[in-house]
């Protein structure tokens, strides 16, 4: 079957999709967006978390056919999404325009100087990234939490991220990163 939907503000079309394919598979294998990760494919680890019409969901549990006509944001579009949110309309760019994410090729640099969402920068700065496989899902989930709850308690952070498994860090640096992002967000306002 064919599926049309929007990813990171950009219309996408996937063809010859097998009816049992998940949104995760379509993103990774058909649209060249492997940022969302395939760690468990049973909704237990959160590594594949994306926003579906703004709501964080496990993309492994969304059937590809269910996203017809809907709007998806993945980790690849997170920086632009966060930027659009913080600017609103005052930056002279509409939200929809700002969401017009363009695929960047992987280059030979670390990406130093790349514009990142505050939560992405905080994950790097706090040492919250080790193997990094859980990171994309955590970033999408944490970013969404901070959108609704800019001053979370530790218990709030833990509850919001309880659907995202990490095997490397013991979560302490992830807690640090989210606190850091919240604090920076607070300062910026």
């Amino acid at each position: 079957m064919r599926v049309n939907f929007t990813v990171n503000g950009r219309p996408q079309e996937a063809d010859d999709v097998w009816e049992g394919e998940s949104l995760l598979y379509v993103l990774r294998e058909r649209l060249g967006l492997p940022g969302s990760k395939n760690a468990c494919e049973q909704g237990e680890c959160g590594s594949c978390t994306v926003r579906l019409d703004g709501v964080p969901v496990c993309s492994c549990l969304v059937a590809a056919g269910q996203v017809e006509g809907r709007d998806v944001v993945t980790v690849e579009g997170l920086a632009d999404y966060a930027k659009a949110r913080s600017c609103g309309t005052s930056c002279g760019t509409s939200l929809d325009e700002a969401k017009g994410w363009q695929a960047r090729g992987t280059d030979s640099q670390t990406g130093e100087g790349t514009e990142l969402a505050p939560i992405q920068q905080a994950f790097i700065d706090a040492g919250a990234v080790q193997c990094g496989f859980c990171t994309p899902g955590l970033l999408v989930a944490a970013d969404e939490m901070l959108e609704h709850n800019p001053n979370p308690t530790d218990a709030d952070i833990r509850e919001a991220l309880s659907g995202n498994l990490c095997r490397c860090t013991g979560y302490e640096k992830i807690m640090d990163a989210v606190r850091l992002a919240a604090a920076r967000q607070g300062e910026a306002v």
Binding site: M1, W18, E19, G20, S22, E41, Q42, G43, E44, G46, T49, V55, P56, V57, C58, C60, L61, V62, A63, G65, Q66, E68, A141, E159, A160, S162, G163, N164
Partner: protein, 296 residues
């Protein structure tokens, strides 16, 4: 595999009538796991995401009509006052991501004894509204679960909504898992006090082939509360009554040993949860009563 995408409830019913083997998919939190792990290859997937009615709810005089696909997150956020037991149960469901997708209709459709919503529905009292091209019927929740992962639906029927009695007293819900979040129930317990009818109702999950009520325990407690005039005098329930209630709840279990826990543990834990939830609800009832009296 065919992917059916009805745009309305009528189209969905027609599709289900035409393809009775079609597997409905809404939140996908059960169906997609089975597909991803090659446990299931349905001939047709019937996507219900485009049927807007299913994600709506209506608060009526005595009941809440809860669309089958209303996500657990919405129940937690919007129906805590009307459906406190179900709101608590919803909060124990898996993870935020899953709660954003899954709804009660999926729990009922799968009818796993471990579904988190069942004990809360049993305790509150509910009817499941199911429909086919042949018509609509309301199935009392007590008659809905017919066996391990089996329910009272006919092949051409879909779950449209659940009519749940609005709380007329305190409700509680507890679930045991071996992790502090994102865990499938080892066993679960729901309790609702119904001061209007001076009854209590219970629900037990994951401790029998189907979700069950502890009817003997309810009858015992109803009688004990009546006899002692507890509903009127608001006294603390005596430990011996609570203990007997807990034992009868344990006795209502018919559990198995599996990788998640032993049968013996499940019986034990249901008893502990029964006692604790009785204490919590009764304390809350007494508190509310005192408050009302004070106001009067």
């Amino acid at each position: 595999m065919d992917f059916l995408r009805p745009a309305s409830w009528e189209e969905a019913l027609a599709a289900k009538a035409e393809h009775p083997t079609a597997v409905p998919i809404a939140g996908g939190t059960d169906v997609m796991v089975e597909i991803n792990f090659d446990h299931r290859r349905p001939e047709y997937l019937l996507d219900l995401n485009r049927v807007a009615d299913l994600t709506e709810w209506e608060v009526g005089e005595d009941t809440v009509r809860l669309g089958a696909s209303v996500p657990y997150t919405k129940i937690m956020e919007n129906l805590r006052a009307e459906l406190p037991g179900l709101a608590l149960a919803s909060h124990t469901v898996a993870s935020p991501q899953i709660r954003n997708r899954g709804g009660v209709g999926g729990n009922l459709g799968t009818a796993s004894p471990a579904g988190d919503a069942h004990p809360a529905l049993l305790a509150a009292g509910a009817e499941v509204e199911v429909e086919s091209v042949r018509g609509t019927r309301l199935i009392p929740i007590d008659a809905f679960y017919t066996g391990v992962k089996r329910n009272a639906l006919a092949a051409d029927e879909l779950i449209k909504s659940v009519h749940i009695k609005k709380a007329d007293g305190p409700q509680q819900y507890s679930k045991v898992g071996t992790r502090n979040a994102m865990v499938i129930a080892v066993c679960a317990f729901g309790l609702a006090l119904h001061p209007e009818t001076r009854t209590v109702r219970t629900g037990i999950g994951s401790a029998a082939p189907t979700p069950v009520r502890a009817k003997a325990a309810e009858e015992f407690l109803n009688a004990a509360l009546e006899e002692g005039g507890f509903w009127d005098n608001g006294k603390i329930i005596t430990p011996s009554v609570a203990k007997q209630f807990a034992e009868l709840c344990s006795g209502a279990c018919n559990p198995i040993d599996d990788v998640r826990g032993t049968a013996s543990y499940r019986r034990h834990a249901v008893g502990v949860m029964a006692r604790r939830t009785l204490t919590w609800t009764w304390e809350s009832y007494r508190g509310a009563r005192r408050h009302t009296e004070g106001a009067a």
